[in-house]
């Protein structure tokens, strides 16, 4: 039982992957790292596990400086993205592996494996080999192997990303209920924002070189530190437009694509934008903050008009891609709606939730010093 502290850790090969990354995960905390593939999430976990040697910085587990401790003495358990189950051993032997490493008595091992297997609902598979069980069962086996180890730190590398949607959902629910995971510091890596938002006590958005933003899921989703964080979270992705701030007698307007989309920003946003010298900005609109207005309905919000480009009905929702001027705009619609390509649509803008970014460094203009 210990917290995990990463102090300015650096790791790179030809290019830096982790650049002075610092992070504290408290005991009992479930911390999710989300970011696009190939950004270095797995490298971060491997550094914590001791499988990679740090170029600089320190790793503390509890009060121990674990920077140079070998992985087999670190008290860290990790599930691999590939599961890394031993193909020549049965499910039972795979789960028992950490206990056997400690040369525990057979009765203890039997009891522990049985209880973990029951918890994960794989107790009927213990005699099988990994290639004889399904993907979800493999994942549970890998998870079981980490659970029996009773480590100080749990590292989970994309544990459910490669499973089909149904099992993914079920396992996700299981992560919520696993007591073992709630007692230690857990670092969970995923590229799927919904896993991050659903599971994390806190989440960290990983970009080039390290963590772009750390915070509660809700906070990071609503107030992304920059355009990158805004892009990582949310599916369909956020609509991004290059925009100009225009001032006239009526006040401030945000204008995209020579006025094809033009609206006055919400009051709070307007006061910040109004103080800006540089008129070029980027505006981000999440698809759920745009809606199609049925014909004849009076608009309470600013609207733009465009035409349907593509429409996908997904069951629970619909996704409409509209052409507005020369821009494309993704809009979430109610499931019962139907649109034909080319059909004209009016789109209402829920501007209170819009995000504004610097065009240069991409930082969120509403966060931090204005």
């Amino acid at each position: 039982m210990a917290r995990l502290v990463l102090d300015e850790i650096c790791k790179g090969w030809d290019f830096p992957v982790l650049d002075r990354l610092s992070l504290t995960v408290e005991e009992g905390e479930f911390f999710v790292i989300v970011g696009p593939s190939g950004i270095g999430k797995t490298t971060l976990l491997r550094c914590v596990a001791g499988l990679e040697r740090l170029d600089a910085g320190r790793v503390f587990i509890g009060d121990r400086d674990a920077t140079t401790i070998k992985p087999y003495r670190r008290g860290v358990a990790m599930t691999f993205e590939s599961y890394a189950l031993y193909p020549h051993l049965s499910v039972y032997e795979n789960i028992a592996s950490p206990l056997r490493a400690r040369r525990l008595p057979k009765a203890t091992i039997d009891r522990t494996v049985a209880s973990v297997a029951a918890l994960l609902k794989i107790d009927h598979l213990l005699d099988r080999r990994p290639h004889e069980v399904s993907g979800g069962q493999k994942q549970r086996t890998a998870l079981g192997r980490t659970l029996v180890a009773q480590p100080d730190i749990f590292l989970l590398d994309e544990p459910i990303s490669h499973l089909d949607a149904k099992i993914r959902h079920e396992l996700r629910r299981q992560f919520h209920t696993l007591e073992e995971l709630r007692r230690v510091a857990t670092l969970y890596v995923t590229h799927d924002y919904s896993e991050a938002l659903s599971l994390g006590d806190r989440i960290g958005v990983m970009g080039k070189g390290g963590l772009i933003q750390v915070g509660s899921p809700r906070d990071v989703f609503e107030n992304p530190a920059d355009l990158f964080a805004a892009r990582v979270l949310g599916q369909p992705s956020i609509n991004e437009f290059q925009a100009m701030i225009e001032r006239d007698a009526n006040g401030i307007h945000v204008s995209v694509a020579d006025g094809a989309i033009r609206f006055p920003p919400a009051g709070l946003h307007a006061s910040v934008l109004g103080r800006r010298q540089d008129m070029g900005i980027a505006v981000g609109m999440r698809p759920q903050h745009l809606s199609v207005l049925p014909e004849g309905v009076e608009a309470h919000r600013p609207t733009v008009t465009g035409s349907v480009d593509v429409y996908e009905a997904l069951g629970a929702t619909g996704v409409l891609i509209a052409k507005v001027g020369d821009q494309q705009m993704t809009v979430i619609t109610p499931p019962e709606a139907h649109y034909q390509p080319g059909e004209p649509v009016r789109i209402a803008l829920d501007r209170d939730h819009f995000l504004y970014f610097d065009r240069g460094d991409g930082r969120n203009l509403m966060v931090g010093p204005h």
Binding site: Y72, F80, Y86, H88, S97, P98, A101, R145, A149
Partner: protein, 288 residues
């Protein structure tokens, strides 16, 4: 429709002809392959007088099955088989251990340009003609207390051929065994040494079988070095076989009978472990 049918039927016999020609070629080759073996078998079953006739018989007139027991009337026969087994097995064990260690190091710790060049250097040792080393080795071993005519000579000398091959192949097999499994074992709490024996080694067992088989067959069949360097204290069976003579006459029945007996182990190994062998024979390229 009609036209296409005519062209098809016009093309058909042509293809059939080619097919028959190819099949005939295959059959001819099978006969070419089998005839010498067949003749070896019947020769092993004939009495010497029948073999030495001016016109060879293609089916034995007299069957002498006791030729097979007759070869062991010479006490040197059994000893030569035992010598061969000792040398082949000891050399295989040594090649396998050294090759496994080196192959593991090459697969895991030496992956850069250095390691690759080292691997190809070791592989190239398999291809060099041994002419440049045999003569010095002759004098080198001659200077040792046990001399050239000893087990140690051949056991060590065959390493020249078998160890490079074993090292190369084991490197290939270790590369196939995912590194992540070893890392998972570290995180389970196994030290690198224990992880190696618990996880990595079991994964390359099929590869080790393939390597062991190739090394063993090579050492079992080797003649030239055994003939030039040993022959009195130690005498492997390929060196022993040409000694079945009575005066100036070769006892072909014994030569053939013994050859067939000696051929059994490699043939049985091949039949059982065919799949493993192809991978090894092609330096790891053909998965088999």
């Amino acid at each position: 429709m009609a036209t296409s049918r005519t062209t098809a039927s016009a093309g058909q016999p042509n293809y059939r002809l080619i097919r028959y020609v190819l099949l005939a070629f295959l059959v001819i080759w099978l006969v070419f392959t089998l005839f010498p073996l067949y003749f070896a078998v019947i020769t092993a079953l004939k009495p010497v007088e029948e073999i030495n006739r001016m016109v060879p018989t293609f089916w034995p007139e007299t069957f002498r099955i006791d030729n097979f027991s007759g070869i062991f009337a010479d006490p040197g026969s059994l000893k030569s088989l035992i010598d061969s087994i000792i040398i082949a097995s000891a050399n295989t064990a040594l090649s396998l251990v050294l090759g496994t260690l080196a192959g593991y190091a090459l697969a895991r710790y030496l992956r850069g340009a250095l390691g690759e060049n080292l691997a190809f250097f070791i592989l190239s040792q398999r291809m060099f003609p041994p002419v440049a080393i045999l003569i010095p080795i002759f004098f080198l071993f001659d200077a040792t207390p046990w001399g050239t005519d000893s087990y140690i000579t051949l056991i060590l000398l065959y390493l020249v051929f078998n160890m490079p091959l074993a090292t190369w192949l084991m490197m290939v097999f270790f590369r196939d065994a995912p590194k992540e499994l070893e890392e998972a074992a570290y995180l389970d709490g196994y030290t690198p040494l224990r992880a190696f024996f618990k996880v990595t080694l079991p994964l390359v067992v099929p590869g080790m079988i393939s390597v062991a088989m190739l090394c063993w067959i090579f050492a079992w069949n080797e003649y030239l070095f055994a003939n030039l360097l040993t022959g009195t204290t130690v005498k492997t069976f390929p060196v022993h076989i040409p000694t079945f003579v009575a005066g100036s006459q070769t006892l072909w029945n014994f030569v053939m009978a013994f050859s067939l007996v000696a051929m059994l182990p490699p043939v049985i190994l091949f039949i059982i472990l065919r799949r493993y062998m192809v991978r090894g024979l092609s330096l790891g390229v053909v998965k088999g």
